[in-house]
Symmetry: C2
Subunit: 254 residues, 2 copies
DNA sequence: GACCTGATAATGTCATGACAACTAGCCAAA
DNA sequence: TTTGGCTAGTTGTCATGACATTATCAGGTC
């Protein structure tokens, strides 16, 4: 039946490693392997060269090779089995879900994003917002509400609350860029996000904003994002037109 | 403002490591740290003892300690910063999303799952099913359709297709257990799953099955799951009552 | 007082070596 | 024929050591 092909990486591969540059060796290797999988050079089901041999051929230690392979395993493209080896997962390949904003997603899929700014104001935190952001109830927050369009078609209504330190953000920034771009330009680096994804019917206002019929089905997402010091930098309640947007998740069992 | 507390793990901790048992040392350590975070012993924002010191105190090498910490970073509970240290992420803690079935989820939340089996038949693969399962179009598959209930309330309608080797599965198995339980008992271990999450309106039949009004909003999930050899073992199209179920996702930027 | 500089401390990367655990395949014995 | 064990191959775990990179902070200089 499906023969376990013994495909091995071509000998000439991986020979152009930048050993003195700032890019880690394991990252250079993992990128090349991932590229080989996505390009079909390593077909589904084929076996990867074993760690020790690969390391010898590349002049790398086994831990470095292991880490490179592990990166791709975590993306769901490779599967390892002790005593057997490492194989390419079957099935159509999909890009990994990363910590991006809707604005980034649209840019990556070659659509033109734009924004209608509905609300931008300072607002005292209610109980829920205070809990999500980890601030005191009643303390000032930046409250914003936007409609995001892709190629001039409305895709999402997004409502967000940010800690007081961001109250200086200007409307022009939010119209020209995504929220995450604005935050990054202010020196914030998002590291962890916790999302809840659900569904509900649209309200009359949302139906009008998204140009859909009343009481349509909406895809909803609540998110709290944390920066690299572990503090909450954003809490948002978004709703999406389900015919134009969906979430993609890859799970890997350890 | 928020003082960076210098909390350090209590000295008596981690002293009961099972060095000869089958459980890896890094896993024992990561479990204890995670437990300390979830129990509040390590409060949000507190700093973890540095890797070298922690390793010395536990009698472990630095790679082992590093791996233990990395496990928790990947779960979104810790954040590392070079030159600074490792801190506990703020915000309410949530369990990690793992590769589980709805049946497992319900059991874990102390609800009583049950199943109505609507369809269980052998069916030739159509184009879409063939592509998702990686089999030839027209080749036999096992087709099943179920309603999943929690505490006797319908939560989801689930339609699944499995490769031909599973055609022997009995109705009694599926009524008494979840699909993933049945697969595991047949020696299959799921390793990777790719999911698409969306929303749409319910059909008349789905509304009746889920005991909701017609044209309600539904949360939908399409999934293809792969075993440890990288072969597809299941393709499913599920829809959930959004008032009773939602998805939780944690993203970590590398 | 503002700015530069160095010391300090912490995580990030990489190498080397060793042994354990698991799988598949071959081969011999019952 | 079937069962069992042995062997080779591969990933999993762990230790030790070294250096690089980055952030903080104290102190000196202009």
């Amino acid at each position: 039946m499906s023969a376990q092909e013994e495909n091995v990486l071509p000998m000439g591969m991986f020979m152009d490693l930048e050993r003195s540059g700032p890019i880690p060796l394991y990252f250079q290797v993992s990128q090349r392997i991932e590229k080989a999988i996505l390009s079909g050079e390593l077909p589904a089901g084929s076996r990867l060269e074993n760690e020790v041999a690969l390391g010898q051929r590349l002049g790398l230690s086994r831990p470095t090779v292991r880490r490179a392979i592990q990166e791709i395993v975590d993306k769901g493209l490779l599967v390892r089995r002790r005593g057997i080896g490492t194989q390419v997962v079957h099935g159509q390949v999909t890009r990994r879900v990363e910590l991006t904003s809707l604005y980034d997603d649209l840019t990556n899929t070659h659509k033109v994003p734009s924004t209608h700014l509905l609300t931008l104001e300072s607002q005292p935190a209610d109980a829920k917002t205070a809990e999500r952001l980890g601030v005191d109830e009643g303390s000032p927050t930046l409250h914003l509400r936007r409609v995001r369009l892709a190629d001039d078609v409305p895709v999402a209504v997004m409502e967000n609350w940010l800690p007081a330190e961001f109250i200086g953000i200007e409307p022009t920034d939010l119209v020209a860029h995504g929220l995450y771009q604005v935050l990054r330009s202010r020196g914030v680096t998002m590291r962890v996000a916790r999302q809840h994804i659900g569904a509900r019917k649209s309200t009359a206002e949302e139906s009008a904003l998204l140009e859909i019929e009343k009481s349509s089905a909406l895809l909803t997402m609540d998110r709290t994002a944390f920066d690299n010091s572990g503090r909450a930098v954003e809490f948002g309640q978004h709703c999406y037109r389900p015919d134009l947007y969906s979430f993609e998740v890859t799970l890997v069992e350890k």
